[in-house]
């Protein structure tokens, strides 16, 4: 029956997502964030000093 099959899938999928490690993604995204902040402060300091 198609109805029961759908129900089974919905229960299974979040469990699979939870198992993936996102540590590497988090670190790389934070590194990009840090780079953006450093360059922004650099340009800002240059503007104020001049």
């Amino acid at each position: 029956m198609p109805k029961s099959q759908l129900k089974k899938q919905a229960v299974e999928s979040p469990e699979v997502e939870e198992k993936d490690s996102l540590k590497g993604t988090f670190i790389s995204v934070m590194l990009i964030g840090g780079f953006i902040i450093i360059t922004w402060i650099g340009v800002w300091a240059l503007y104020l000093y001049r």
Binding site: P14, L22, G33, R50
Partner: protein, 160 residues
């Protein structure tokens, strides 16, 4: 909605950064008075040399350490009021730049300072700058304006 813990941290971090950046820009603009160049005033580009203050380009003292610098740009020259193309400004002076062009679009960049604007025929470009550091600064055209573009230059010297 099921959201990963790291994703929540990242979103919070991104939003906080954006708020900090906007606050800094807001304080700079409304409290410290840092404004971009303005070109709100118009004039007839064919009658620049007859229109005040462009009939007499050069440095004019307005008050205590406050000056108005009027410059007329044209292909391929910056008319600063003298043949040496040299303007001397005392350190710490506030200078109101008043610039226009008689022909095509020119750039107006005082290399090494925050003075950087575009000159369009028919518009008066203005910018106010306080010279905190001494030195010799070269005024260049940074918008390609024709065959003599690289010859357009003048010098502004900030002295003690």
């Amino acid at each position: 909605m099921n959201m990963h813990k790291y994703e929540k941290i990242w979103l919070l971090f991104g939003t906080a950064t954006l708020l900090v950046f906007l606050t800094v820009v807001g304080i700079s603009a409304f409290y410290m008075g840092n404004q971009p160049p303005s070109c709100a005033v118009t004039l007839n580009p064919e009658k620049v040399h007859e229109t005040a203050p462009f009939d007499e380009p050069g440095l004019k003292q307005l008050g205590d350490n406050e000056y108005q610098l009027t410059i007329v740009a044209s292909a391929f020259n910056f008319d600063v009021g003298n043949n040496e193309k040299l303007i001397q400004i005392p350190k710490g002076a506030t200078v109101h730049f008043n610039v226009t062009t008689t022909d095509v679009v020119h750039g107006f960049e005082l290399a090494g300072t925050n003075v950087n604007m575009m000159l369009e025929p028919g518009y008066i470009s203005t910018y106010t700058n306080t010279f905190k550091n001494t030195g010799k600064f070269t005024l260049v055209c940074n918008e390609y304006c024709g065959a003599g573009h690289h010859l357009m230059a003048a010098t502004i010297e900030v002295i003690e």
